[in-house]
Symmetry: C2
Subunit: 427 residues, 2 copies
Amino acid sequence: MKKIINPDRKEWTAILKRPTTISESIEETVASIFADINRNGEEGLKRYTEIFDGAAIDDVLVSETTIAQAEEQLPEALKKAIAVAKENIEAFHSAQKVTKKVIETTNGVFCWQEKRPIQKVGLYIPGGTAPLFSTVLMLAIPAKIAGCSEIILCTPPDKQGNVNPAILYAAQLCGVSKIVKAGGIQAIAALTFGTETVPAVYKIFGPGNQYVTTAKQYATKFGVAIDMPAGPSELLIIADDSSNAAFVASDLLSQAEHGEDSQVLLISTSEKVLSEIEKELALQLEKLPRKKIAQKSITNSKLICVKTDDEALELINEYAPEHLMVCTKNTDFYCNGIVNAGSVFIGNYSPESAGDYASGTNHTLPTNGFAKAYSGVNLDSFLKTISFQEITANGIQNIGSAIEIMAQEEGLYAHKNAVTLRLKSLK
Amino acid sequence: MKKIINPDRKEWTAILKRPTTISESIEETVASIFADINRNGEEGLKRYTEIFDGAAIDDVLVSETTIAQAEEQLPEALKKAIAVAKENIEAFHSAQKVTKKVIETTNGVFCWQEKRPIQKVGLYIPGGTAPLFSTVLMLAIPAKIAGCSEIILCTPPDKQGNVNPAILYAAQLCGVSKIVKAGGIQAIAALTFGTETVPAVYKIFGPGNQYVTTAKQYATKFGVAIDMPAGPSELLIIADDSSNAAFVASDLLSQAEHGEDSQVLLISTSEKVLSEIEKELALQLEKLPRKKIAQKSITNSKLICVKTDDEALELINEYAPEHLMVCTKNTDFYCNGIVNAGSVFIGNYSPESAGDYASGTNHTLPTNGFAKAYSGVNLDSFLKTISFQEITANGIQNIGSAIEIMAQEEGLYAHKNAVTLRLKSLK
């Protein structure tokens, strides 16, 4: 890790720069696969699955029988752990429901909002080294609570054409409607246009590599909404001498093992605290099974010593971390002052992995500084807000002339006339 | 208007098709202007303003003096009307604030959400035939309530380099920080990259023509969020014999006058109702100052007679109108059943123009079927939701083993270790 002591404000931009790179050439690939899937549907989807995943599959949908068998393949302990996580995620996301609140803005003018589910949603679950069944929980549970009627999950199959049973088990447990054996760009294209068996959806959720991320961004051109742009995972920890060096080091490493492009930042007003954590980190790194990955991402990472808490807070808000851990005495100062972050973990017993799996909060969060404008996935991500208004005869008499004047000034005479006619009828 | 009687379900897609066209060539123009502004900043911005708006300007920011003088140029009646609208919009959007709700998902595991303003936002206000000061109110008022600290408004100047005083007045009244004399693609590029005087923003809001819409979509490639994709405005009215034919006709026309590509749809289970409204529409159209525009968009529009209320509701949800007016006896049936719509107007005294100007609801709404996945602009559009968690020693003991098991199954051993270390320390 690079240690930086009291950096000048002018250096902040360079210090906080993320190690991400975007390749223009990916978009051409995305465009050509989208055009292909749009033209050839299911046949194209299977063809790319054979090319990219090495799996020749007859049916892109996982069968009911296979889904039913998944449960038997999982150890009891894992099923119990998933049940604990599910219960907490449900409790947290159910509490996000809001009740209708009618506002009488002027006498006789009643306005309110109501939320409705996005009817068809697509959930993307990456394949690769680890079966991310936890992401199935994080996306399917709020989709179900929101009342989405079609929840389509896409995930790449292995070379034998199979999907990990933990993903199948979590999906059926959370009420996923269909599980599609497809990954990468072709999966996002199938969700965008629909195929013979994959329904086109209105919004696509979930993490993915650069190909998936570029494909999701490209899908918006065709009117499909997406949860948020995604980048490599990241964690920023602010620590003082009330923190536990071993705990903090373990959290930095748990972030670093995600991928070689993950980034971790540690900030403190004390050089001593930084050094202690650095020592612990070196010790723990040696014992990690994913040492190679973690070591690589640790080189992208920085220990930063700043002079004051105010400066630390400013630096944090400038970086806008996906995950922020506050391991300091003055937690209120940081929690009240944080403006840009995805998810905040407070104190010595709130490791980031709690939020990744089982505390109840969502782990699909804005990376790459997107926390400056985006929220993480939550219940609202699966809902739309519709506004309603009901105006009485008296109400239109109260606001009618304001509407007439404004409409006239904007040169919209039919807008004015719609009010004038009503006011005249009430005279 | 085209009259369609009892269409077969197979024909729905064709009937509900919007008259929009997207030109690929616009994106090339957008890309080149973005690159230019990114490279040349302010100089580029002024150059395009001269090319596209015919205005040679020294200072892209409207001066304090000019803003202060705007108030004197407006008639008192307009200022009063704006005050009425502002009060209602404030009341409706302030009521959307939520209070923090801490959920104890498991004993000792405390999770909650807090909302924070998006610090820097850009508001785009189109120029053209009408000065859309109402859109200034609709965007700047919720931005201010949310607590956005920099609110940058861009709007194209006229050939003399001036901005309509009604726009300036509304902007200063609602707390806009800077008013930039720039429109079109170049304004969106300036908000994306920043220039010498225009700050780069995190999210861009507001309507615009195809160039602006394509530019906003393009801006997302650079990490800037946008409110929603936009298309021509549209209105769907469901009416029965309890509706007032003259009122309904006036509402259809108020939508139709927006632009030649606006679309209006009228649905009823009664042919007689459709015919009466059609007659009224012909009469009122003759008297409109913007008759030419309205007439053109009326040709894009349809009267549809369906057999049952159920079929009508299905058709409405399939279309997903930006504005929906419910002028029927069974309003509850439609209001409870609507899933896809931007804003709903109920009864004979709730014209769409009320929501456009002064009832309090927002008029920046999803068009082009985007109501299937997007909400209209509301207070939340200017806020991000951050999740927080604070877990006690007892709390991590309660959920720790679930996290350990799940992390291990996903092959993330450092995630597991972060919990194991804490659990061991508590033994």
